[in-house]
Every structure is written in structure tokens, then in C-alpha cells.
Amino acid sequence: MTQHFGRVICGGLFASAAMAGASSACELKIGVPAVLSGPAAQWGIALRGAVDFVAKETMEEGRLKIDGTDCAVSFVAIDSKYTAEGAASATNALAAEGIKVIVGPVGSPEVTGMKPVATRNGMVAMVNSFAKDSIGPKWPNMFHIGPGPSGWAGPIIDEGLKRFKFDTVAIVAPNDQGGTDIASVNAQIFKAKGVTPTEEYYQRGTTNFGPIVTRLLSANPGAIDLASTPAGDAGIIVKQLRQAGFEGPVFRLGGPGFEEIARVAGGVEVLKDFLWYEPVYRDENTKALDEKYKKLMGEERPENADFYRWTFAARMMVKAANAAGTVDDADKIAEAMRNLPVEDENIGKGHWIGQKFFGINQEMSYPFAIGVVQDGKVQPPIHAPAVAEG
């Protein structure tokens, strides 16, 4: 009996020691609320792939050291379904796991849903979204991975006006915050460039855009802007626009997704004249990143170009944790982030902006590119400098 009791005590002490050891081990756990289903899934897959890659890269190269000890990096991805409630629920689940560092989500409704939950649970986050209130003084630990259309739509419209003749545009987008915030900003910018805009919204979940296309074309627009319409929907709209006989240029002044849009539409030749926002300018450095991803992960990088932005964002989060000397104190990590230069080894240098638009200087800005298809042929992308404040 005494022997048995002794074994239990020894076992308990051993377990306690093991648990104490485990809890003191340094591990940065990154929460990833990402849309992994539905027509916007391509964006979430790029986000998840980037965080997965950065976690492995950080550990492989010992990039995160706290008190001289190499830290592990892991991540938990939950489908945020491109809805506010989906993202809120995913963030709650991440908070329940004790996660303090978030990279994601992608869309405006998601960011709207996750911000209060993340703030309430003392998290620091690097979010996307092109909403007018993506970040702000109310959410001091929220950072933005890059400017919305207010920053880059102007140069793309200028490029379109240089190549094609049009003075009216019909902007089509979903009728929720993920669509209306972007479409209304795009409309203002088109107007400022002397192009008369009309806005048309549709119910998310629409599968056949035949009637919407007929309505769009009844106004006889010179150009169409797909704004932030998910890539799957955008592909159908372009296909049906061309079937209906629309000959003008099509803009995609929203999130990236050119490859999927072209596939769903039925090929680049169906796109005919098409301009879109590419979040980064692809050169030898981004090619090196592609190769590094392939070597480390054993597969090609996620197709969507948002992969680059999320890689930048996740690396910045690791750098901030490193500089702050903590993996779970969100306030310290946020403070360290504010003092970091906006710089990535593959994507280039930029700067913090956002004070004028959001009231808080927590938006990363770096060079981007303008993608062009003309006469059904993909043209070399055009390099555009980092957006300056204002």
C-alpha cells in the first residue's frame, strides 16, 4: 500500500514537472480566422497557406527568440465563412484556446464581426478588409495589411482611361458591407476621374447573374467594375457580360483573384479587356519566395496573390513578438509593431499610413502592381509605388 502510494506521489510529481516544463516552453500560437468555404475560399486558402509557411520558416531559421530561447510557432485556422457571425464565432473559439495573436480575417463583414471579440479578449491582430472602418482608434491593437481601394483604385482607373475610351461605369458588388463599402469608394474615385458611376448590388448566394447583367447593360455603361465581388461570382459575371455582347473594359477594383476569375469565365480571351489590382509587384524576389515556399512546404504556393500580403503580415507579427520579447502579451506586441519599419525581405519596403483615413497610423503600405489583359492577352504588370497618406 505504502509502495503504491509512493508511486502515485512520484507519478504526480513527474507529471507536474512535465506540465510545468511544457507551460514554460515558448510557443507563439497564431489564430487564423479564414474563409475556407464558398466563392471567397481562395482568399482564405492564401491566408492559411501564408501563416503555415511563416510558422515553419520561423522555426526552421530560428527567427523567434525569447530570452535567448528559440520559440515554436503554431497556428489554428478556423473557417470564418466570409460572414460577421462566422468570424466572431471563429475568434471566440480562438480566444477559448488562449490565443492572443491573430492574422486574418480577409473580408469586411468578417473583420466587422471579429474586431469586438478580439478587442474584448485582449488580442492583437493583422486584418485585411477594404471596409471604411477596417481599423481605427477604437481598436488600438488592430493593424491593416494594406490600403483599400481608396489608395490604389485611382492609378488603376488612370491606366484604364489611358488604354480604353469610356466615360461611364457600372459597379457591381454584393449588397453587404463587403460589397457596399468598396463599391461606394470606387464610385467616388471614378467620379473624381470624370467617369460617371452607377452602383448595382446583388444578394450574396446568387448563382446566375443573367438578370443582373441585363440590368447593368440596360444603362449602356462604357465600363464595368466588379469591385469586391468574390472571384467565383466575378468569373460568372464576366462570362455572362461577354455573352450579352458587352465590349467595354472590365475593372476588378477589389481583392485579387485574377486566375480564378479567368478560369470561371472560360479563359483569358473571354476577359478581353480587363484591369485588376495586384497586391504586390512580382519580380525575382517574389519568385524566390515562391521557391522557398515550395522547398519548405513541398508544394506550390497558394494561387491567390494575397498569399504575399499575408506572408508579409505574418512575418511582421513574428518580428513584433520577437521585438516585444513575448508571445502572449498582445499590448506589448502591438506596441512593438508600431515601432517596426514596414519591410519584408521578399516584398520590399514601405511605410505606415492610415492616420488620415482611419484616424490611426496602423496600415502597411508597400508597392503594388496593376494587372492588365488587353485584347484577350495578358500584358506585363505595371509597377506602382507604395500609396502615400491621403
Binding site: A41, Q203, T207, G210, T214, R215, G232
Partner: protein, 288 residues
């Protein structure tokens, strides 16, 4: 005027797609008394099988269409025989089984093919055009297939001995069995017919629109809406309702916009159901 006519043609085209989907849905309810929540899943399955056969394996599209229809019918037959038949009298159990099967299909497709839409286009890509009026040839094919399918289903259900037997079983399974009708053969047959129709619709429509693991979700919603409007279990009701839904959807979206158009459709259906709770052809609703 051209816009009005073009909108009507789009409405008919939409209606034919909804009719193909609603026929299978209403057949399963009308004969088996099962609300098939895996309907959208069979649509997705049909689309991906056709894609795999025609794009990955390089088979002719027509053959891919036949394989997709036959495969989804076979899966439906197995589902009914192996699982649903055991719980056929328990409405909650059939609902859970079909809902679960829908999730299994969506997840399997996601794992095998990934979340991104593949390039899958209809083999005929031209457009018939006259002034501002146009119809893609692909939509004409869908409309033609739809009319043939409606005629065949109508003949099968209302004019053939198999159909009479199925309707007798729908009325009273115990009495029909006592009279020698073989429920263990006819129920799986009806289920396979319905899922085969759904798979065929997926194989026909996804190359015209888009193919992804979750394109079945709105399909289920529209099938449900159409069948409830027509009267659950009524083949005639489902067909008429499908074209009404297609036309209202089209005209409302064109003249009121995408947001108000969707709202108009649901409000109209709501009003009709308040006046006719059994649906437009509700006399043929299956008696519980």
C-alpha cells in the same frame, strides 16, 4: 421592349434550371415522403463527375453527362437501400441522414478537388443574337433537356405502371405492399431517378455557371422554395412553380435590382403561401 423580351428569355432559362432541380426534389418527397437535404450535394457531385470525366480524363462531354447522371443515380440508389430504407418512416432520421450526406459530399469534394473553382466550360459556347435579344446556345440545350425530362418524368409518374405503383405506395405503403407492390425495389428506384436527375442538372448547369464545392447550397434553397410554392410532391406544381420563380427572379432583378429583386421573389412566395398554404398545386401533396 428588347430588354423586356431578353429578361423573359433569361427567366425561362432560369426556370428550366430550377425545374430540373425541383423535379427530383418533389419526386423524392412525393413518393418516399423524404425531404432530401442532400439534393444540393448530388448537384455538386454531378458537376464534379462530369468535370473529371470530360476535363481530367478527356472523355466527350455527352459521355461525361451520362456517366454523371448514372453515377449520382447509383449513389442515390445505394443511399436509399443501405441507409434511408432502414429509417424511412422516421422523418427526423431521414432529415438528419440526408443533411449529413450533404456534408459528406461537400467535404469529400473539398478534399479531392480543393476549394477553388476549376475551369469547366460548356462545349457549345456560341450565342444566338437578334438586336438586343440573346440566348447562349448552352441555355437552349438546358431548356431542351429540361422539356424532355419533364415529359419523361410526367409519363413515368402518371402514365406508366411503375409510376402508378409508386403513387400507390405514396398513398399507403402498407396497402400497396399487401397488393404485391415491391417497395424495396420501387423506393430505391424513385430515389435513384431523382438523384440522377439532380446529378444531370449539375453536369449541365455548372459548366454554364461555375463549379465549386459549395454551389449546391443555393441550389437546395431554390429547389425547396420552388417545390413548396408548387405544392410538395406535385410534379406539375414543381414545373409550373419553377418557371414562375425563374420569371419573377429575372424580371424583379432587372427592373428592381439585385437586392430588391431577391426580396420581391420571397415576398411573392410568402403571399401565395398565405393565400394557398398547400402551394399552387397542393391537392397532390402527399398525405401523411
Amino acid at each position: 421592349m428588347e430588354t423586356f423580351i431578353a429578361t423573359g428569355l433569361i427567366g425561362v432559362s432560369l426556370g428550366s434550371q430550377y425545374a430540373l432541380l425541383a423535379l427530383g426534389f418533389t419526386l423524392i418527397f412525393g413518393i418516399l415522403g423524404v425531404v432530401n437535404f442532400a439534393h444540393g450535394g448530388f448537384y455538386v457531385m454531378g458537376g464534379y463527375i462530369a468535370y473529371y470525366c470530360s476535363v481530367v480524363l478527356g472523355l466527350p462531354y455527352a459521355l461525361a453527362l451520362v456517366i454523371a447522371s448514372a453515377s449520382t443515380a447509383a449513389v442515390g440508389w445505394l443511399l436509399e437501400n443501405l441507409i434511408l430504407e432502414r429509417v424511412i418512416d422516421d422523418h427526423q432520421a431521414t432529415l438528419m441522414v440526408t443533411l449529413g450526406f450533404n456534408l459528406i459530399i461537400a467535404t469529400a469534394v473539398l478534399v479531392i478537388f480543393g476549394a477553388e473553382s476549376p475551369e469547366f466550360t460548356f462545349p457549345i459556347d456560341g450565342v444566338w443574337r437578334s438586336g438586343g435579344i440573346y440566348i447562349p446556345y448552352a441555355n437552349m440545350v438546358v431548356l431542351g433537356v429540361c422539356l424532355v425530362a419533364i415529359a419523361l418524368v410526367y409519363w413515368l409518374v402518371y402514365r406508366s405502371n411503375v409510376g402508378r405503383a409508386m403513387r400507390a405506395m405514396a398513398e399507403d405503403r402498407a396497402v400497396a405492399s399487401a397488393l404485391g407492390m415491391r417497395t424495396k425495389v420501387l423506393f430505391p428506384f424513385a430515389f435513384a431517378l431523382a438523384t440522377g436527375l439532380c446529378g444531370m442538372t449539375g453536369a449541365l448547369v455548372t459548366p454554364i455557371l461555375a463549379l465549386s464545392p459549395h454551389v449546391g447550397d443555393p441550389v437546395l434553397a431554390f429547389s425547396f422554395l420552388t417545390v413548396i410554392l408548387g405544392g410538395l410532391g406535385s410534379v406539375t406544381g414543381a414545373t409550373v412553380a419553377a418557371f414562375i420563380v425563374g420569371l419573377v427572379d429575372s424580371y424583379a432583378a432587372v427592373y428592381l435590382g439585385g437586392s430588391k429583386g431577391a426580396l420581391t421573389l420571397f415576398v411573392l412566395v410568402l403571399i401565395i403561401l398565405v393565400i394557398l398554404p398547400q402551394g399552387l398545386f397542393g391537392r397532390e401533396v402527399r398525405r401523411s
